[in-house]
Amino acid sequence: MEKRKKIICPKCGSEMNHHADKVVHSTTAEEAKRVNLAFGGLLEELHACPACGAVASRPAD
């Protein structure tokens, strides 16, 4: 699978590190529409900034 582009830290501009994937259990009707049935929730990537400690997330592929 092709690697996705690194997230750029919105606070300091450094490349962030993708250190986790997590299932997030939906709490709203809007989120429920995006549930990944294989995992039973929304699959999110978690990223951390090595320079400033900021965190970010985005839906996983």
Binding site: N17, H18, H19, A20, D21, T27, L46, A51, G53, S57
Partner: protein, 190 residues
């Protein structure tokens, strides 16, 4: 890359109940952590936070609390035991964030009026902490018979808690440093 920012380890006081004695335990932990070089701490009292009850989860996220959780490398969660569990309002507050917690360390300080030091609240808390993406350490601090541990002004009466807190903080700092290195340097797909 090894990050040289000071570690941030806030102490969350998880009760709003009037007359709470947990505040003495929380202030004691802040004092003990603040003596560590390279570690910043502060008391986050949930009774100072806006806690709406007409929504839940990330729908009630408070920007200031969220920012503190982003900065945090570890959390100290001070919980009294209410009916064999931790306070519902504490969970309501913690549920307002998620990505802020992932791969960060947590340690629990249990408080009770009776002899067991909040052990049932702590056991109940562990699966919640796991689902929030926090990594719980194997040390707890158990303040049983809290009214005999501190006097009315919050002065510590039982010095054994200094050594207990020291062991707890040692482990929490180790875990916080290790997890920060992992967050910063070890990619999931590496």
């Amino acid at each position: 890359m090894i990050n040289t920012r000071p570690l941030s380890i806030p102490v969350i006081l998880g009760t709003t109940r009037k007359g709470r004695l947990s505040v003495h335990a929380a202030r004691f932990m802040v004092d003990q952590i603040s003596r560590r070089e390279g570690v910043m701490t502060e008391l986050i009292d949930i009774s100072d936070l806006p806690i709406p009850l007409d929504d839940a989860g990330e729908g009630i996220k408070d920007a200031a609390f969220s920012e503190k959780m982003v900065r945090a490398d570890a959390l100290v969660l001070v919980t009294p035991e209410y009916n064999h569990s931790f306070p519902g309002l504490m969970k309501h507050v913690l549920d307002s964030c998620l990505k802020e917690y992932i791969h960060k360390a947590a340690g629990i300080v249990g408080v009770s009026a009776g002899p067991f030091g909040g052990i049932r609240a702590i056991q109940d808390f562990l699966p919640v902490i796991r689902e929030l993406g926090l990594v719980n350490i194997f040390w707890d601090v158990n303040f049983g018979n809290i009214a005999q541990v501190f006097d009315g002004s919050g002065r510590l009466l039982d010095q054994a808690f200094v050594a207990r807190a020291d062991k707890f903080i040692n482990e929490l700092v180790w875990m916080a440093r290790t997890l920060r290195y992992g967050r910063d340097n070890i990619a999931l797909d590496s």
